[in-house]
Symmetry: C2
Subunit: 173 residues, 2 copies
DNA sequence: GTTTAAAATGTGAGTACTTACTTATTTAGT
DNA sequence: ACTAAATAAGTAAGTACTCACATTTTAAAC
């Protein structure tokens, strides 16, 4: 991975996240990265390839964030970590997460599959704590987590900290 | 409002909702509507104007959906109607709602302001029922509602009916 | 009720510009 | 010297948008 290759990835991530995939031209990416436009196609084949490269390099972030929760053995901790997840995403990774959310709507990249392990871990946790409907509880909590994440990334007026504390209280954690 | 004008609005709504605003060209809209491309600009000035026309004509739907909840006096009914809202949106209006959600990400049209009256109605309802933190309860419920709506429109595997019943039970309704 | 002129609606062929992508050529690392 | 990295200058197709012209609708005058 050369220096310019990384510059392209960085620039594309920022622009795709802030303006959207279709609204960002390869010309714009090249200029923002301080690179000739042709280089994008030399390294990433086409615009779609550039996007895939970004997504692949970001996969680690996604997995490491989820892994910490899934590895947890204490059921209460699984739930607590899920609720506080939004607060643990680093500001330097905002662009990546924003892109992830944006692509769910702009292209039809669901990201539903990637949530599955987390959903199962949550369902197990709720089951261990003798909740009546563990699967539904898991789904509901994920709905909340996604909603809160979306709100934060969209710069909503919502008070994240307060909301997280409120939820922890609701789940008696 | 002429016949062709409505055809343009219909076509644009469907295409914007399904492919996205930036990904849909005016040429595509014109062909899909069976109309000359120039007519779009005669009637709606530019592409942005076309979008605004769609949004304005859809405003009624948004208001009528929220109004029914806000007018409600029984606090328990306010909460119940909010929870079941997702199930009440007609399939013929899917495109409109999908566009609404998509635009939140593609452009930065928040739609946060339009939620404010509903949020206040919910906060009042929770307050009447002596909940400890009515504002947070309201915000949380809206987070769920939006998340559930998004899931349905994205064609998620989630069981909407079941989830709604589950939530009603949680809120003792 | 017909005529007629003006206004509104609609078209098709353009425009200048941008798009994703290519290719011939040059630069730099080993 | 050979290979990979990088560039500059293309290209064809697509973009939003315009404009001169044709058609229909409206409405007032006779």
């Amino acid at each position: 991975m050369t220096e310019k290759q990384e510059k392209i990835l960085q620039a594309a991530l920022e622009l795709f996240a802030k303006e959207g995939f279709h609204a960002t031209s390869t010309n714009k990416v090249a200029k923002f990265a301080g690179v000739s436009e042709g280089l994008i196609f030399r390294h990433f084949c086409n615009k779609e390839g550039l996007l895939q490269a970004i997504l692949n390099s970001g996969e680690r972030r996604l997995k490491s964030l989820f892994a910490e929760i899934i590895m947890e053995t204490d059921p209460k901790e699984v739930i607590r970590k899920t609720i506080t997840m939004t607060d643990h995403i680093d500001e330097s990774e905002y662009d990546f997460w924003k892109l992830q959310f944006k692509l769910k709507w702009e292209l039809e990249i669901s990201g539903d599959k990637k949530m599955q392990p987390l959903k199962m871990a949550l369902a197990n946790a709720f089951s261990s704590l003798n909740y009546e409907s563990p699967e539904l509880e898991a789904e509901l909590l994920l709905l909340f987590t996604e909603g809160l994440g979306a709100a934060v990334l969209k710069g909503s007026s919502i008070n994240t900290e307060e909301m997280i504390q409120f939820l922890l209280k609701k789940y008696k954690l």
